[in-house]
């Protein structure tokens, strides 16, 4: 029995790889995402220069062999700062997605399993949250409870909750009338156990795709928040803060704004391509739903 299951899983994996090899969007997205994660990981142990050390004689240099992306107005190496900043972007966006999944998915599954007034209250509540302009609310939360990476995570994470809850609910609702769920109910399993054993494994693909999309939106939101000074605080480096500093130097050193902008674009682009690719690779039926 177990051997059989393992064989089936093996078969799934092979099918996945076969489709992935044919999907350019998935390959490009996965390559870019892995590269960014790799850069972030390397920055934990090594960067070409120490970003905390100022070196005024080297300030405002253009790109060169010793400073790939040039230096900023304090003479810091911009490439090293981009490496450091990637950690902040990834951490904030990833934890915000985690909050969305951790709270949203159970809520959505619960609403789908219970139906009735609980479901109604749930839907209306998420309607109300969706009516709040997310960025403005995030600005409000971080400004009031104090700027910083943690509050930025919470502010972005809150708006991920209804997104994941809706996706989970919609997918779970379409599964509940299916025969295999009926069979599970007939064998005496309760709603919680059915959700854990049968619903969740079947909606995991959808959640993964949505997670990738929210991850990229989180990167953009974090950049926006730290650009207006509400995200990560010094001495931490972040791409948004680098852009804010570049803005003040725009007239004399426009190149300072290029690298952080490209870093954000490449990361978001990579995640979006990965999301699109995953959607096509995991389930062609999902293609129409966006």
């Amino acid at each position: 029995m177990t051997d059989h299951l393992v064989a089936a899983e093996h078969e799934d994996w092979r099918l996945f790889l076969k489709k992935a090899r044919a999907n350019r969007s998935f390959q490009a997205g996965a390559a870019i995402t892995l590269l960014i994660v790799f850069i972030a990981a390397v920055s934990l142990i090594w960067t070409p220069y120490d970003v905390a050390k100022l070196s005024i004689p080297d300030r405002l240099q253009g790109p060169s062999w010793s400073h790939w992306f040039g230096t900023d107005h304090f003479g810091r190496d911009i490439f090293s700062m981009i490496m450091e900043g990637s950690r902040n972007s990834i951490a904030v966006a990833l934890i915000a997605v985690g909050i969305g999944i951790g709270i949203g998915v159970p809520l959505g599954c619960w609403a789908a399993a219970r139906r009735g007034w609980i479901d109604e209250v749930f839907m209306r509540t998420s309607d109300i949250i969706f009516a709040f302009p997310a960025l403005l609310s995030a600005v409000m939360i971080t400004a009031i409870f104090g700027p910083g990476a943690v509050n930025a995570i919470i502010a972005i994470g809150i708006f991920n909750i209804p997104v994941f809850a809706r996706v989970a609910r919609g997918a779970a609702l379409s599964l509940w009338p299916r025969e295999f769920i009926l069979a599970a109910r007939a064998s005496g399993k309760g709603p919680a156990r059915i959700t854990a054993e049968h619903i969740l494994p079947n909606i995991a693909n959808l959640l993964l795709v949505q997670g990738t999309i929210q991850f990229s939106l989180g990167i953009l939101a974090e950049a926006g928040l730290s650009y207006v000074g509400l995200g990560a605080q010094p001495p931490a480096t972040s791409w948004g803060r680098m852009l804010a500093e570049a803005q003040t130097m725009m007239a004399i050193a426009p190149q300072m704004a290029i690298a952080p902008g490209i870093a954000i674009i490449v990361t978001v682009l990579g995640l979006n391509l990965l999301g699109d690719g995953l959607r096509d690779v995991l389930d062609p039926k999902l293609r129409r739903e966006r």
Partner: protein, 314 residues
């Protein structure tokens, strides 16, 4: 239709009520006493207490919420703590910047996105389609404030065609005002246009796959007529939904762009008000924006139900 409208209207009212409560009570737990903040560090306890009394801060929370709510129902959003003028007046001063900016951005994004959507759907699979879709992927990934910085550098700093920031006010005439808004509007419109073009393309492709389109083609209608007369009209429904959502997003999304261009709009007002703990202003603007979102969605829903009777039964 009447019953449908009434039901939707009830939902709108409940949503607004709950949203206003959320805004009020979230800001209620904010650290920092507005009275102390207004008087500064050297204020005596007595002065702070007197001001709290005068501002009505000693009333129970529920009483204050209800009086704020009933004020808003009468169009009175209260009085700003720092400026000592009615909040409605502050909002009116700022909305003449933010609203034209949002409308300009919406117009631009529609003017770019719809033709791109039609073109790419009609030429699906060609190189032009692939290139345009790659372009939209890029457009979605570009942070609008970064794009704004580049625009400022190219068109304001280098070419000096338009001012780098600030707003002269509409008293100076229409042209100076528009000149100050054009760069921020382009920056706001770009990512929106990218999203809208993708929605328009996929909606059109979906419609083009319908049976009645095949029938229209089968009876010998030219491809252009099928596209423009039959497909386009039906494909506009999802496009309108996104447009409705985007308007609200643009109105709120101006908060960061206004920062780049030093525009005295709603975003800047909220920003200052948050820093000065002028909570009643923050509450007023947020409720106004949430109200706009809810009402625009309501109107879009009504437009659908009017166009498609099947939706009224929901």
């Amino acid at each position: 239709m009447l019953a449908y409208t009434a039901r939707r209207l009830l939902i709108v009212l409940v949503t607004l009520l709950v949203a206003s409560a959320i805004v009020f009570f979230v800001l209620e737990i904010v650290p920092g006493d507005p009275a102390r903040l207004m008087l500064g560090l050297n204020a005596t306890e007595d002065a702070v207490r007197a001001l709290r009394e005068q501002m009505g801060l000693n009333e129970p929370v529920l009483t204050r919420y209800l009086s704020w709510l009933s004020g808003m129902a009468r169009g009175d959003f209260g009085e700003s703590l720092t400026y000592s003028v009615p909040v409605t007046e502050l909002i009116a001063d700022r909305i003449v910047v933010s609203l034209p900016l949002a409308l300009l951005a919406l117009g631009l994004s529609t003017a770019i996105a719809i033709p791109v959507g039609i073109f790419t759907a009609a030429r699906r699979g060609t190189r032009a389609d692939t290139a345009a879709m790659a372009g939209t992927q890029l457009g979605i990934a570009i942070p609008n404030f970064w794009f704004a910085l580049l625009l400022v550098y190219v068109f304001a700093v280098t070419l000096q065609w338009v001012p780098a920031g600030g707003f002269p006010g509409w008293d100076e005439g229409l042209w100076p005002g528009l000149r100050a808004l054009i760069l921020p509007a382009i920056a706001l419109a770009l990512p929106q246009a990218a999203i809208l073009a993708r929605v328009a393309r996929s909606a059109l492709l979906e419609t083009l796959a319908e049976d009645y389109i095949r029938t229209a083609r089968a009876k010998g209608l030219p491809a252009n007529i099928v596209l423009w007369r039959h497909a386009l009209r039906n494909a506009m429904i999802p496009v309108l939904t996104i447009l409705g959502l985007q308007f609200a997003f643009l109105l709120a999304g101006t908060i960061i762009i206004e920062n780049v261009f030093f525009l005295p709009g709603l975003g800047q007002l909220v920003f200052q008000a948050i820093n000065q703990r002028d909570l009643i202003v923050v509450e007023g603007v947020v409720v106004l924006l949430v109200g706009t979102v809810v009402i625009v969605n309501f109107l879009v829903d009504l437009a659908y139900a009017w166009a498609d009777p099947r939706l009224r039964r929901r």
